[in-house]
Every structure is written in structure tokens, then in C-alpha cells.
Symmetry: C2
């Protein structure tokens, strides 16, 4: 179990191997340059559009990289995962591609769009009460009962390596655009995406800083990077960023991140709402709350952008209609 034993720590070679497995499967999403953000911030902002990844978030990358390495016997047993929604969809889609049954443990208050899409991908959904039940225990029991493989959403070397392909693409696409990359800011929950990006950036663009962006109150990475040890968020803290509610950094991901990340940013719900509205109105992109925190940090002036080149990951777009409408009414 991850909490006791971080297991194998992935390295850049794992990320490169993941890129090979994902070629032709995951989308090489655009890195958008030259938007009105440049004039607004005085810097050069490159937007990595993982909102346009299959299933509307980067999560398909890690899930497919993990599942595609299972052997035939493991595939027959199927997979179990727990997730607020984007990892659920990623695992369900990868399992369908590979012909495996998938069972996903999801909070009963997950966005409808994520519940609906996961079900539409053929996965069985087990709902639980996010504030009263342990998804880890439910998922572990299901995996035992069904002889299935449990696929963690971040604390897994193959999942981290898969997410790291986002970092390879950012470095490659920035170079294609003739940009010298000063910083990458990624939305962070358990830390799998940012850990994978950090491995890629360390290998391919070592002078580039990698930073986290988190919701205020769930800024465990920011505080953990400052203190040097894994800090927990206060239980029960709420945020509109349903995808970014992990209680603390992963053990394995923090093993990677504590040595490689330059720091973190925190944004409140209003700043996230403003970023979602800006994305829709000005960038013509639909971004979910958890996918907008890095952009929110830039728009709120928290990232030192002036005269620098900063890549900002828009990590997902699975927002419920109601919230998007509400944000556009403000």
C-alpha cells in the first residue's frame, strides 16, 4: 500500500517509455501561445490544453500507461480505482480500449458530467460518502474480492510516468515555438501530474522551474515544499475544485517533488471562478475548477510573469453546466 511503502520511484526513462506507449493513443494536446494573456501579464504565457485530451483531462495518460503494462491474467481480473472523476474516466477509457472490466469508487457528490461519462465508458460505479467513508478501504476490499488490480490515481510509478508525458510535450512544443521556458505551473492534488512533469523538465530543460498551483486550504504541496515534509490539509475544508481535494501529498510523488519543485501557489474560489470565466470568454476554452487553478494563479498576479516565459497547464475541462453558467453570470 502506498502509505507504508512508496515502492519504485520512477525516473525520466519511465516517462520516455510512457511516451512510446501513449503514441497514437493519447492526444499530443496543443501548447497555445500568443494569447491576450501576454499583453495582460507582460510575460509570455504558453497554455497546455489538456482540456482537449481524451475524456477532457490529462488522466487518460497515466491510466493507459499503467493498464497497458498488465499481463493477460491481470487484465482478466479487471481494475478498481477510486477517483472524484477524471482519473475514473481515464481508467474506464483505458480499460475499455484494453478490453478489461473496470470498477470505479466515486464520491456521491462528484460532478454529474464525470459520473455520467464514467458510466458511459462501461465502468461499474460504486458511490460513497466523501466525508464519512474511506474510499481507500472500499477500493481495497473490492480489489481483493474481485481479484482486480487497484490503480491509484497518483501514488504509482506508471501513473506518474504517464502524466509526465505532458512535461515532455511542453518542453518540445516550447522549443518548436522558439521559447526558452522559465517556469511550468501545474494544477496539483496528489502530485502525480506535477511529479511526472518535474521528471521530464529536469531531464530536458533543467533550468526551468516547476511549481504547483492549489486551492487555498488545500495547499498542502505549497506548505510541504516550504517545510520539507508532507503536511496535511485541515479536514473538512471545502473548495469548488472537486479534482484537487487529496488530503496530503502522495508519499511517492512527494519523494520526487520535494527535490525538484521550486514552490507553490494557492488561489481562492473567487480567483478560480474568474479564471474559468476568462478562459471561456477570452480563450474560448471550457476549463473545470481544478483545471483552472494554475491560470488563476497567473491572472491573480501570484506568479512572477513579467518578461518571463511561463507554461500553464489547463489540466481538465469537466465542469458541470450549472457551475459554468453561474460563473458566466458574474
Amino acid at each position: 500500500m502506498p502509505a507504508e511503502d512508496p515502492g519504485r520511484v520512477p525516473v525520466f526513462d519511465d516517462v520516455r517509455a510512457a511516451a512510446g506507449r501513449l503514441a497514437g493513443r493519447a492526444r499530443r494536446t496543443p501548447l497555445l501561445a500568443g494569447t491576450p494573456l501576454d499583453e495582460r501579464t507582460g510575460g509570455r504565457i504558453l497554455l497546455k490544453l489538456e482540456t482537449l485530451q481524451h475524456l477532457g483531462s490529462f488522466k487518460f495518460r497515466g491510466a493507459y500507461n499503467r493498464l497497458s503494462q498488465l499481463d493477460d491474467a491481470e487484465r482478466r481480473g479487471g481494475v478498481v480505482a477510486f477517483s472524484s472523476g477524471n482519473h475514473a474516466q481515464g481508467v474506464a477509457a483505458a480499460a475499455r480500449l484494453l478490453g478489461m472490466p473496470a470498477t470505479i469508487v466515486m464520491p456521491s457528490d462528484a460532478p454529474q458530467v464525470k459520473l455520467r461519462n464514467t458510466r458511459a465508458l462501461g465502468a461499474e460505479i460504486i458511490a460513497y460518502d466523501r466525508l464519512r467513508e474511506s474510499r481507500e478501504e472500499i477500493a481495497a476490499r473490492l480489489a481483493r474480492e474481485r481479484g482486480a488490480v487497484l490503480v491509484p490515481s497518483f501514488d504509482d510509478p506508471d501513473v506518474i510516468a504517464g502524466q509526465g508525458t505532458v512535461g515532455i510535450e511542453i518542453v518540445e512544443q516550447a522549443a518548436e515555438a522558439g521559447a526558452a521556458l522559465d517556469e511550468v505551473v501545474a494544477c496539483t492534488s496528489g502530485g502525480g501530474l506535477v511529479a511526472g512533469i518535474a521528471l521530464a523538465v529536469e531531464a530536458l530543460s533543467p533550468g526551468t522551474r516547476v511549481c504547483t498551483a492549489e486551492p487555498a486550504g488545500h495547499d498542502d504541496h505549497r506548505r510541504s515544499l516550504a517545510s520539507g515534509r508532507r503536511e496535511r490539509n485541515a479536514p473538512g475544508t471545502r473548495s469548488i475544485c472537486d479534482a484537487l481535494l487529496a488530503p496530503e501529498p502522495g508519499k511517492l510523488t512527494f519523494e520526487i517533488n520535494r527535490r525538484r519543485l521550486a514552490g507553490g501557489y494557492a488561489v481562492d474560489d473567487d480567483e478560480v471562478r474568474a479564471a474559468i470565466a476568462y478562459a471561456a470568454r477570452t480563450l474560448k476554452l471550457v476549463v473545470e475548477p481544478g483545471g483552472a487553478v494554475a491560470l488563476a494563479a497567473v491572472l491573480a498576479g501570484k506568479v512572477d510573469v513579467g518578461g518571463r516565459t511561463v507554461a500553464v497547464v489547463l489540466s481538465g475541462g469537466n465542469v458541470d453546466d450549472g457551475l459554468l453558467r453561474e460563473v458566466l453570470a458574474a
Copy 2:
């Protein structure tokens, strides 16, 4: 004046030259493949994301191609254009890049987002009543009085050539994706975009059909292509597609289109609303009504897609918040 004399008819060499002028100025927008549209339609749909072009529509291409060819004396006199909004923004942005004053004649009921953006680009806006005044007369008078160049929104060889760069990119990007292109469907008003695309496709992918998509009641191209002569729309016909309300095909554009287009599709307002909602919910893209008609034709089952590869242009994303919210509430 276009109505009396179509003037020089552009050819593919003009489109290629425009691509050279636009390199590094216009964005080479993504051609998105492998979306859920494939499973839904049974075909292979390639989406050309001109929603992500500068100013949120393809119009910057034609405007910049036209204005960048003016000499110093002409540049000092500035430009005048009339437009419901996207051409306005394209001309205003190109004029600003080239250091020219711009005056734009816009309907007083144009979407607020388009009025606001055009003003923010430094253009002077002259409002008129779309149902009672002639924008052509107002613009011609202003151009005379100010010694300015009038830039038509479609019936101009350089404007058509600029829009045609969309077609070059579609053919190139489809080839990069290993797709043999059966058909291109483009949103159509005066016919400049589709004419430019037709010139490019005829030269680079001659076996590919090019078709128009229009709002019902404003399907003058569909009817004109069938009859072989320019048909007018009934005056006063309404549509939510504010960008697609030209009364008839352009004289110059129809000179190109009547020989090269395979036909046209018409969609009603409800089909357009459904396409806007689908784009936001499933594709994570903000599309305006006039930019969604080609997608609407596909979603409504009007395009023969099964087993074929069809490129669909999402031509613009400048929708008012209110309409987007309304569509997401349905």
C-alpha cells in the same frame, strides 16, 4: 463596388502568398481528430479550431492579408469596414499591428463581446440599425470622407485568399494525421471563407468535396448552388447566427464557389443551440452560433459521414455569456 464589378478573381497562388504573409502572424490552429464525434457518427471527423484563432475567429487571416499589402500612403488614410463583429475585430487587430487607424460600422444589436473587443483594439465604432440603414452606404461615405480604404468582409480577392489559408492548413494537417479527406464543411455567410478553402482544396486535394453550412432561412448558398445563380434570402428572416446574415452570396465569392462547391446544408436555431452545447460539454470548446453551423449539420445527421473523413470548420467563438448560459440550461 463589388455589386457591379467582381474585379480580380483570386487563384490558389494568392492563397499560397497569403500563407507566407500570415506566417508568424495568424495562428496555425489545431485540427482536432479522435473526438467522441467519431463514435457518435460512425465517421472520422476532423475539427478545425478557428475558435482559437486570434480574436476568436478566422477573420484575422483575410483582414491581415488585405491590410498588409497597402502602401504607406494608404496606411496613413486608415481603413473602414462594416461587420457584425468578427471581421470588425480582425480588421481592428490587423490595423493595430500595422499602425493604421480603423473605423468599423457595426450593427447596434451586435453581440456585446464583439463590440467590446473591437473597441478595445482601438477602432472607432459607428453603430447603425441593421434592419433600417445600409451599412454599405454608411461605410462608403466614411471611406470617401476620410480618405480611407474600404475593406469588404468577403467580396475581395485578398480577403478570400487570406481565409483560404484555413484550407491549406486543413489539407496539410489531415495528411499529417494520415487521413484521406472526403469532405470539408465550412460555415458560410458571404462565402469568403468557403471560397478560399475551395481554392486551396482544389489545388491540394482535388478529390475532396467542399460544402457550405448555413442557418435555415439564410441558406442562400445552398439554394444558389442548386439553381446556378445568386439567390437572395427573404428580408427580415431571423437567426441566432449573427455572423451569418449576409443577404446573398458575394458576386466574387460566388464566381469561385459556383464551380467548386459540391452543395450546402441548412440547420435551424435549435440544431445550432444543440451544437453549441455539445461543443462546450463534450469538446470543451466555446463556439458561437455562426461558428457552430457546420458542426450542427453533422450532429443533426445532415452530412453523410458514415465511413468517411469530414473536416468541419468551427469558425468562431465570440458568443455572448447570456446565450451560452441559456444553451447550457437546456
